[in-house]
Symmetry: C2
Subunit: 144 residues, 2 copies
């Protein structure tokens, strides 16, 4: 893809965060950056398995957990029993379509999602805005 998504670039990103850029880790992060579908661990595993047969789900979980701890991805819990991951850690909202199940990004009025502020005396460090409804596409093409 583009140069910012080159394996070399990703490799550098990981090194900067103190993560050894192993092949599996690079592929998992690359997948997350190229697929803005906010996949679950299972989706990532299923897709990458086609390409990388010797890949275990444990490694996917291990890698995601590591990326999360180092702040290079974020976890979305828009729905119970469906933890999704997003390589874009900039503040933005997420919309889940109840028809097609897709989760899409949404630009949202900044003040709301600005982290690192104090509200009512509480120190806020993280913000998630989750919207649900029917997406543009499903509104146009109703199922059934």
């Amino acid at each position: 893809m583009s140069e910012e998504l080159s394996i070399d670039g990703l490799s550098e990103d990981l090194k900067k965060k103190g993560i050894h850029p192993s092949y599996h880790r690079l592929k998992i992060l690359e997948y997350l950056m190229q697929n803005k579908t906010h996949p679950t661990a299972d989706m990532i595993y299923k897709e990458l398995s086609k390409e990388i047969p010797p890949l275990s789900k444990t490694t996917v979980y291990n890698s995601l957990k590591l990326f999360l701890k180092r702040g290079i991805i974020q976890e979305l819990t828009i729905e119970e029993k469906e933890v999704r991951y997003d390589a874009d850690t900039r503040p933005h909202a997420h919309f889940k379509c109840t028809e097609c199940g897709n989760v899409i990004d949404m630009a949202i009025e900044p003040p709301t999602l600005n982290p690192e502020r104090v509200v009512e005396g509480h120190k806020v460090t993280e913000c998630h805005l989750y919207l649900k409804g029917v997406c543009k596409n499903c509104l146009k093409n109703p199922k059934k």
Copy 2:
């Protein structure tokens, strides 16, 4: 929803929603309305069990699911593996303290959380704003 918490009032609320106001259901809803701590199903079960020995967790799950379907409570998925319930269905934000683990309500600038609107062509019907950080209380009394 009635403002007072009389059993009679709750009973009427349930009937209006087409839910038979059984003893267990009334106690579960009453607990949710009196305890603004956004408890999990397990917390509700553990607490109510003290009072109502013949109560099974299945009944708690059944009742919560039913209330949810009829729109008299809402589900909070601020954290994975910790689905919480809130009897207040008006738009408001939720803050989870990473120190004490408590989830507290927060009044939030209305436009952000107004449901039933169209954003970027998508029909929004539900909004959740989840904040994380350290609460006022834990800032004052740091642990250890």
